[in-house]
């Protein structure tokens, strides 16, 4: 009887040790393949890491669903935004001729593009669904420059692992990994449903990323920074979303 329980104890101990070292190895492999999100610490880190890692293994090259023109929502819904301020309204009155998109960080040719320059780059369109974490959705057609084109144009260095992007609104900044940054549907959007991107929908520029929730599609885009680490941005959690209690990865 005693012998059996000792044997059981040893085998349970060995199994636990194997399990723990297995987890440690899995964590190392996951980190090497970029499967650990920047907000992996804390109480909800395990679930968040599982979600991000599982979706990245499944979605590295997958395309967001596209719809037919007849499915475009008649009345798209623009969520509320914080007041945009006097500077914004002055630029809006001048048709945003002074709007600049700064691209800096780990680039061979850091640049600052005017709205006209952005619009002169080769554009791409897709009819996709945007969904808010609140639960509502609409379908629209977005037109813009693929982010990958801009990264190419500024000469993104091979070490770049994340693209940080900011809104004119000071508390709204986000970042994405290269799977999303180089994804063909990730657009620096300047048009929507055949017109210029309306201000309530983020005009003049919005980073449109259809494989994630709406809060990753930052409105009033004016700066893009290329980096190999998110540690020095804000609190190091990857974006303003985790700082407000929301997940960095919003593919779910």
């Amino acid at each position: 009887m005693k012998k059996i329980s000792r044997r059981k104890l040893i085998s349970t101990g060995l199994a636990a040790a194997a399990g723990a070292s297995g987890l440690a190895v899995a964590a190392k492999v996951a980190k090497h393949h970029g499967l650990i999100p920047p907000d992996a610490g804390g109480l909800y880190g395990p679930g968040e890491t599982l979600t991000y890692a599982a979706q990245r293994l499944l979605t590295r090259h997958s395309m967001a669903r596209e719809f037919s023109r007849s499915e475009i929502s008649e009345k798209p819904f623009a969520n509320s935004v914080d007041p945009l301020g006097d500077d914004f309204h002055r630029m809006q009155a001048a048709n945003f001729v002074d709007w600049r998109l700064v691209v800096d960080g780990m680039a061979a040719r850091p640049s600052s593009f005017s709205l006209a320059e952005i619009k002169s780059f080769p554009a791409s369109s897709h009819i996709t669904m945007i969904g808010c974490e609140e639960g509502w959705t609409y379908i629209g057609e977005w037109t813009g420059v693929p982010l990958s084109y801009i990264l190419n144009r500024v000469g993104a260095l091979p070490e770049v692992r994340y693209v940080v992007y900011r809104s004119l609104q000071p508390d709204w900044w986000e970042s994405i990994d290269m799977a999303d940054a180089l994804h063909p549907q990730t657009l620096v959007a300047h048009g929507m449903n055949g017109t210029e991107l309306p201000v309530p929908f983020g005009g003049p520029l919005r980073l449109r990323i259809p494989r994630q929730l709406g809060y990753k599609s930052v409105k009033y885009l004016n700066r893009i920074t290329l980096t190999d680490s998110l540690k020095s941005f804000g609190k190091g959690l990857g974006s303003s979303a985790p700082e407000a209690g929301y997940a960095w990865y919003a593919g779910i």
Binding site: G135, T137, Y138
Partner: protein, 257 residues
């Protein structure tokens, strides 16, 4: 005669540890562990899911739905978002951040537990032995008898302390093989990442908002199941049923109640 032999038997089995260990368990350790893990995950999912719903307590069919469109179901609850017209003069605090984090973490616990339970149930005969009803119990008459017994709130018979009755078996099977899988499916069908890889998951359901609506309807069915389940435990005897699901021990069937 039976009383005189039964009494020493019982004291003997209580005194001897080896016989004690061999005492049959009402619920196996795997069933008890997965039952309580599922309970914890389900409560976390229910609370956080309810909280997330408050940010848009309206439901739509097909692909799109927002406050510019007519919902098929308006819960008429106050909302945690000012843009939702609710008729209430106030806006609830936004709790979606941690609610979403916890919802998905609890979903992982539920899915992991479910996979383990599925493998256990298949390979250890749990489904076949304890959940699939005997064909003789599946006649309209047998089901009718069981139904009438439930509707009269009759206490279960002694052998029901050791085996599920036909209605119990059917409802557990429905929860395990229909409602839980539907919950996971409709949940994944709302994920933009997942549907980019598996677009059929949402197309087959009829759209993103339909998936969200079914997710809500199935939640309501699971809550209904939970309520009936807990009421039945009180009717059957809270202490004995809880002890059976926590320690696995119950009064052996040969000794009656």
């Amino acid at each position: 005669m039976s009383a005189t032999t039964a009494v020493p038997d019982r004291s003997q089995s209580l005194a001897s540890t080896s016989a004690h260990a061999a005492e049959p368990k009402r619920h196996s350790a795997a069933v008890r562990l997965t039952h309580w893990l599922t309970t914890i995950a389900f409560i976390a999912l229910l609370v956080t899911g309810g909280e997330i719903t408050l940010s848009h307590p309206r439901f739509y069919w097909s692909e799109t739905g927002n406050v510019n469109m007519h919902p098929w179901l308006n819960l008429h609850l106050p909302s945690s978002r000012p843009m939702v017209p609710t008729g209430y003069g106030y806006v609830l605090p936004d709790q979606n951040g941690w609610s979403r984090y916890l919802h998905f973490q609890a979903a992982w616990v539920a899915v992991g537990t479910g996979l383990f339970y599925l493998l256990f149930g298949l390979f250890r005969g749990h489904f076949r032995r304890n959940l699939v009803p005997a064909s003789s119990d599946l006649s309209m008459k047998a089901i009718g008898v069981s139904l009438m017994r439930h509707l009269r709130f009759e206490r279960p018979t002694a052998d029901e302390a050791w085996s599920y009755n036909v209605l119990q078996r059917l409802s557990y099977l429905a929860v395990i093989f229909i409602l839980f899988p539907l919950m996971i499916w409709t949940g994944l069908a709302m994920s933009f990442g997942f549907t980019s890889a598996v677009p059929l998951s949402v197309r087959l359901l009829g759209g993103h908002q339909t998936a969200r609506s079914i997710h809500f309807i199935v939640t309501a069915l699971l809550v209904l199941f939970l309520l009936v389940h807990v009421v039945m435990i009180f009717i059957a005897g809270f202490r004995t049923r809880m002890r059976a699901m926590i320690t696995g021990r119950a009064i052996p069937p040969t000794e009656g109640l």
